[in-house]
């Protein structure tokens, strides 16, 4: 349920589903998970076309650039909801809350608001993490395909349309072969969603496994590619785990939701 853990205060008869749906795709860029699922959104308040949203990040010292990015994403997403003219983002318990709120709520670019942070372009940073997330999501699917007994020749020959969702499961259906179950539907869904986000061809006839440039993976490269992707996935998971563990002391209430 999208509303879980979010304190909502809407005018009588107001349907807040649209707001929550726009928040759903906003990710913690490092952890590659929705801020709603992570439990970062504390409250949503709507009054006269003005949304006030309170966000609590895992630790009070979350990097300024990432905190700005999430706050800015939230503001932009909510401004696209019909009837919303103003958005105020509040960061609860963050060391740079005031500076970030002032910049984000005024629509000020990061580099202008934080000239001393020297983090370069947020667009490049965002792309780096979209790519890491792509690799990590792809590794999970690759792992499931390998575990189901598919060899590199099979995997590289797969087209997007060869893998279908059946209920909670993901199934490989190729002409002339018996269907093979290859893990959870979510694994495929998350991978394809990120492919689409990166602008790669997602047509049923497109190759299922591509590299970060959208080029098909060659059979002889697959094993090395998988080994490198595995490390990216472990790195992201370890980072996520570290953040979540820190939550246990920083935010005892939030941690129950995310651990």
């Amino acid at each position: 349920m999208l509303y879980d853990g979010v304190q909502c205060e809407f005018p009588p008869g107001y349907d807040g589903t649209g707001l929550l749906e726009r928040l759903q795709p906003i990710l913690d860029p490092e952890l590659d998970e929705s801020i709603l699922q992570l439990g970062f959104v504390q409250s949503l308040h709507v009054h006269d076309g003005h949304v006030t949203i309170v966000v609590q990040l895992p630790t009070s010292w979350c990097a300024v650039n990432f905190a700005y990015m999430m706050a800015d994403d939230i503001r932009r997403a909510l401004l696209t909801v019909e009837g919303i003219q103003h958005v105020t983002v509040r960061l609860h318990d963050h060391f740079a809350a005031e500076a970030i709120e002032t910049a984000v709520n005024a629509g000020k670019p990061f580099a202008e608001a934080f000239p001393g942070e020297g983090c370069g372009s947020l667009t490049a940073l965002r792309m780096t993490f979209l790519h890491k997330g792509f690799t990590s999501r792809q590794e999970r699917l690759l792992r499931a395909l390998r575990a189901a007994g598919l060899v590199p020749e099979d995997i590289c020959a797969l087209r997007v349309g060869d893998v279908v969702l059946q209920g909670e499961a993901c199934v490989v259906q190729r002409a002339g072969h018996a269907p093979i179950e290859v893990g959870a539907a979510e694994t495929l869904g998350r991978y394809l969603a990120r492919r689409a986000e990166l602008g790669f061809n997602c047509a049923p006839t497109a190759p299922l496994m591509t590299d970060l440039r959208g080029h098909p993976l060659a059979v002889e490269r697959l094993e090395a590619y998988y080994q490198a992707a595995r490390t990216v996935r472990v790195s992201l998971e370890a980072n996520s785990l570290f953040c979540r563990t820190l939550l246990t002391v920083c935010q005892p209430n939030t941690c129950e939701r995310v651990l």
């Binding site: 010292w61 001393g116 020297g118």
Partner: protein, 342 residues
């Protein structure tokens, strides 16, 4: 010394501190924030019985360190990672001068790291030379994210950093520990980017670069660089602390390191006093890679490999003859005390 089925395992803790983060030493709010951030690391990952009160964590003193490392913690030798942070702490957080107080008492127990900051440019070269002449500096700890006069960090491949690394070679310093790990408030995240190690390691093949905290959260970048560069090593502190709460992830991190770097380039570190070697080593020795991880990665964490990680690899880097060193250590104040207790 850890004893496993009657067999001694020589332990070098590659990452230890004797810091002073007491309120009297805080220069500003950052001094307070810094130690509170460390305290969060400490209290979230340590077992309950190993969690200290905050006051003790701010300043614990040399005798507590000696007791926790050598008497309770199975450690034979510790590498003191000097960290300065003069912009946050009036007298520094744990400078080589502070660390040397305990090194002077137990000279054979410690390897003392000094440091340089290339932003001091020409003027700093002489100061660095003096540091190495005046103190028993055997290695360096570099903190590329340290603040200095409005700068939020530097990179190992900055031109001035190369001048200092050249001087290290001339002075006979071989081992360079570089902090590349999780962001510590208020330091900037980008300064922990690990790619500068790649340039420096290629251009200074005679130096060893021990990447502390294995570049987390950039394990993949670190593994890639360490696989290309024969003189890049992994310092395992922070990663070790996962062993208790999340053994599955610890297993995967270790499997990745063994897969990419092999068993000869991994060095144990506790990051004392953030975490204590006693529980870390007990967990590590009891830990085994699950079968599916062994199969997936084609690696194992055998007793022989644990022995390398806990001490043999660091001993090789610092030219320590373990048998001779053990004999020497059995004669110092700590060795005598341990023998009496036994």
């Amino acid at each position: 010394m850890y004893t496993h089925h009657g067999e001694d395992i020589f332990v070098i803790d590659g990452h230890t501190h004797l810091w002073d983060a007491s309120p009297a030493n805080w220069r500003n709010k950052y001094g307070e924030s810094w130690i509170k951030c460390f305290y969060t690391f400490h209290s979230s990952l340590s077992p309950a019985e190993a969690v200290w009160p905050f006051e003790k964590f701010c300043q614990y003193g040399g005798e507590t360190l000696v007791d926790d490392l050598f008497c309770k913690g199975y450690v034979d030798m510790g590498i003191l990672n000097s960290t300065y942070l003069y912009e946050f702490y009036l007298n520094g957080f744990n400078s080589h001068i502070q660390n040397n107080a305990i090194k002077a008492q137990y000279p054979d127990r410690f390897i003392l790291c000094g440091s340089f900051d290339p932003r001091a440019e020409e003027a700093g070269l002489d100061a660095f030379r003096h540091m190495v002449e005046d103190y028993p500096i055997q290695g360096l700890k570099l903190y590329t994210a340290e603040w200095r006069d409005g700068s939020r960090g530097w990179r190992l491949n900055d031109p001035w950093a190369y001048k200092y690394l050249e001087l290290c070679q001339a002075l006979g310093l071989k081992n360079i520990h570089v902090h590349k790990g999780p962001t510590v408030y208020p330091l900037s995240r980008d300064a922990f980017d690990v790619h500068d190690v790649d340039y420096a390691a290629t251009d200074f093949p005679d130096l060893n670069f021990i990447v502390e905290h294995i570049g987390l959260p950039r394990l993949e970048d670190f593994c890639w660089i360490a696989t290309q560069e024969s003189n890049v090593y992994a310092g395992l502190s922070v990663a070790m602390a996962f062993s208790r709460l999340r053994p599955q992830y610890f297993a995967e991190i270790m499997a990745n390191l063994l897969f990419w770097l092999g068993p000869d380039k991994l060095c144990f570190g506790s990051d004392y006093a953030i975490w204590s070697p006693q529980w870390l080593i007990e967990k590590f020795m009891a830990f085994e890679l699950p079968d599916e991880i062994k199969k997936e990665y084609g690696v194992d964490l055998t007793l022989e490999i644990k022995r390398k990680i806990l001490g043999e690899n660091a001993a090789r880097l610092y030219g320590i003859d373990i048998a001779a060193q053990k004999a020497k250590l059995s004669q110092d104040g700590i060795g005598v005390k341990l023998a009496t207790v036994a």
